[in-house]
C-alpha cells in the first residue's frame, strides 16, 4: 500500500512540481506550439525534396513527439531536484526506490500521449493526411507504447542526471538523435546499415513503423510483433535506468556528490 501511494501520489506531486516552474505559458508554446511547426517543417522539406508523402511525416513526427515529455520531463525531474537542493532529502527517505522512480514517469507518459494526439490532429487539419476512425484505437495503443518506451529512455537520462553536471544538454542530444536514427523523417532503408542497427535498438523506431502500417490500413494484430519489440525495448531501458539510478545513488552517497551542481 505504501509503495502504491509513493507511486501514484509521489508521481502526481512530482508532476505538479514540474509545472510549478513549468507554467502553462511555458507548456503551451513548447509542448503544443513547437510540434505544429516541427511537423510542417519536415512535411514541407519532404514535399520539396520529393522524399515521401505528408502521411509519412505526420505519423513519424507525431509519434516522435510523444518522446519529448518523457525525456525532457525525466531530465527535469532529477535535474530539478538537484538544482533545488531537494535530492538529498529525497534520497534520505526510506521509500522504495522503484515506485519512487517509476511513479514520476507515469504522468509524463500521459503527457506524451496528449502531445502526440495533438500532433496527429494538427497533421490532419493542416496537411494532406487522413485517418479513419477505425484506425484510431490501434494508433492510440502504438503511441502509448512508444511514449512508455521513450519515457524509459528518459529515465536513463534522468539517472545519468545524478552524475553528469548538465543533464539538459544530454536530454537535448538524445531527443535530436532520435530524429536522426529512428526513421522519423528518413526512411530507415535509406540510412547506412550501422545507423539502422542503432535505430532498431532505440525506442520509437518500431513504434513509428507500426504506426505507419496502421495508418496504411494494417490491423493491430498484424503489427503486434513491432509493438512487443517496442515494449521490450522500453522495458530494457527502464531496467537499465533503475540499475543506473541505484548505482549513482550509492556512488553519490559515497562521494558526497548528490547535490553537486
Amino acid at each position: 500500500m505504501t509503495n502504491a501511494r509513493v507511486f501514484f501520489v509521489g508521481g502526481y506531486l512530482s508532476y505538479r512540481a514540474l509545472f510549478n516552474w513549468m507554467h502553462w505559458s511555458y507548456y503551451v508554446p513548447t509542448m503544443l506550439g513547437a510540434p505544429i511547426f516541427q511537423i510542417l517543417f519536415f512535411a514541407y522539406i519532404g514535399r520539396y525534396a520529393q522524399v515521401k508523402d505528408d502521411e509519412f511525416f505526420v505519423v513519424g513526427n507525431a509519434v516522435q513527439l510523444s518522446s519529448m515529455a518523457g525525456i525532457y520531463g525525466m531530465a527535469m525531474t532529477v535535474g530539478g531536484e538537484r538544482w533545488t537542493q531537494t535530492l538529498s532529502p529525497l534520497m534520505a527517505t526510506p521509500a522504495s526506490r522503484l515506485p519512487l522512480f517509476l511513479g514520476r514517469a507515469l504522468p509524463l507518459i500521459a503527457n506524451g500521449i496528449i502531445t502526440s494526439a495533438f500532433a496527429f490532429v494538427v497533421g490532419w487539419l493542416l496537411l494532406d493526411f487522413e485517418l479513419g476512425a477505425r484506425e484510431i484505437p490501434a494508433l492510440a495503443v502504438v503511441v502509448a507504447v512508444s511514449a512508455f518506451a521513450c519515457t524509459s529512455l528518459g529515465l536513463v537520462v534522468g539517472s545519468l542526471g545524478l552524475r553528469v553536471r548538465d543533464v539538459f544538454f544530454l536530454a537535448n542530444a538524445v531527443v535530436y538523435s532520435l530524429l536522426l536514427f529512428c526513421g522519423v523523417n528518413i526512411p530507415l532503408e535509406s540510412l547506412p546499415n550501422w545507423m539502422e542497427a542503432v535505430g532498431r535498438s532505440l525506442p520509437l523506431t518500431h513504434g513509428i513503423e507500426a504506426a505507419r502500417a496502421i495508418a496504411d490500413g494494417a490491423t493491430l494484430g498484424s503489427v503486434d510483433h513491432l509493438i512487443w519489440t517496442e515494449l521490450g525495448i522500453g522495458g530494457a531501458y527502464a531496467a537499465v535506468a533503475y540499475a543506473l539510478f541505484r548505482f549513482f545513488e550509492i556512488e553519490g552517497r559515497r562521494r558526497a556528490t548528490l547535490e553537486t551542481i
Binding site: 506550439g33 513547437a34 511547426f37 523523417n185 540510412l191
Partner: protein, 256 residues
C-alpha cells in the same frame, strides 16, 4: 572611436563567454550537425536534383538563427539572473551599446554552425565546397551575421516583456526556419508567407550565401540584409528605451 572600442571589446568578451557554454555548443554545433544530416539524407533519398551545398548552407543558417534566437531572446533575462542588469543600465554608455555586442556575439557563435555543417557535409556526404565567388561569399557571411545580430536586438528588447522568453524561443525556431526558405523553396509556401519572409534577415542572408556559393548575383541580397539591419537597429533602439523606462518606473530591473 570609443563606441567602436566598446562594441569590439563587448563582442569579443561575449563570444569567448558563449563559447564556454555547453548549451551554445549544443545549439551551434551538435544540433545543426544532426539537422544537417537529416536534411542530407532526405535530399539524397528524394527525387529532387540539386547540390547538397544548398542544403549545407541552409542547415548552417538554421544554426545561426537558433543561437541568435536563444542567445538574444534571453540576453536581458540572463543579465537579470546574474544580477548584472542594473550595472549594465547604470554605466555611462547607452544600454543599446551594452546589449548590442551580446546580440551580435550570439549570431557570431552561429558561424560555428555553418562551419560545422559544411565540414560535416564535405567529410561524410560529399558536399562540394567550391565557392563560385569567394569575395562575395566573404562579404555576404559577416553581413548575414550582422543582420541576424541586429534582429537579435529586437528579440532581446521584446522577449524580456514575456515571462517565459525561453518558451517563445522554443516556439519560434521551426517557423523561421520554414518561412525564410532555409531548406525549402519559398515557392512551395502559401502566398502570405512571402511578405513575412521579406522582413526577416535570414531569408536574404541565406540567399546571399547561396548566390555567392553556387553562382549568381548576391549583391542585392547583401544590400537587403544591410537595409533590414538598419531598420532592426532603429526598432531595437526604441524598444530598448521603452523597456528601460518601464523597468525604472516599476522598479523591476532586478526582478527574477
Amino acid at each position: 572611436m570609443r563606441i567602436l572600442r566598446l562594441l569590439w571589446v563587448g563582442w569579443k568578451f561575449h563570444v569567448k563567454s558563449l563559447t564556454l557554454s555547453a548549451f551554445f555548443i549544443l545549439t551551434s554545433i551538435l544540433q545543426p550537425i544532426i539537422f544537417a544530416s537529416v536534411a542530407y539524407f532526405m535530399f539524397r533519398t528524394g527525387a529532387r536534383e540539386g547540390t547538397l551545398l544548398y542544403v549545407a548552407l541552409g542547415a548552417g543558417m538554421m544554426g545561426i538563427w537558433s543561437s541568435t534566437l536563444f542567445g538574444s531572446g534571453g540576453a536581458i533575462q540572463w543579465q537579470r539572473w546574474q544580477g548584472t542588469l542594473e550595472y549594465c543600465i547604470a554605466v555611462p554608455p547607452p544600454f543599446l551599446l551594452v546589449i548590442l555586442p551580446l546580440t551580435l556575439a550570439t549570431a557570431t557563435i552561429g558561424l560555428y554552425s555553418l562551419t560545422a555543417t559544411l565540414v560535416w557535409g564535405w567529410l561524410f556526404f560529399d558536399v562540394p565546397l567550391e565557392v563560385a565567388d569567394p569575395l562575395a561569399f566573404a562579404v555576404a557571411l559577416p553581413v548575414a551575421v550582422v543582420g541576424l545580430g541586429l534582429l537579435g536586438l529586437i528579440l532581446a528588447s521584446t522577449f524580456v516583456m514575456y515571462r517565459n522568453a525561453n518558451a517563445l524561443s522554443n516556439l519560434l525556431e521551426y517557423p523561421v526556419w520554414l518561412v525564410t526558405g532555409l531548406l525549402v523553396s519559398l515557392s512551395l509556401m502559401p502566398g502570405w508567407v512571402g511578405p513575412i519572409s521579406w522582413v526577416l534577415a535570414p531569408t536574404w542572408g541565406v540567399n546571399a550565401l547561396r548566390e555567392a556559393a553556387i553562382a549568381g548575383n548576391p549583391w542585392p541580397e547583401i544590400g537587403m540584409c544591410l537595409v533590414l539591419g538598419a531598420v532592426y537597429l532603429v526598432i531595437g533602439h526604441f524598444a530598448l528605451q521603452h523597456f528601460e523606462r518601464l523597468a525604472r518606473e516599476r522598479a523591476t530591473l532586478s526582478l527574477t
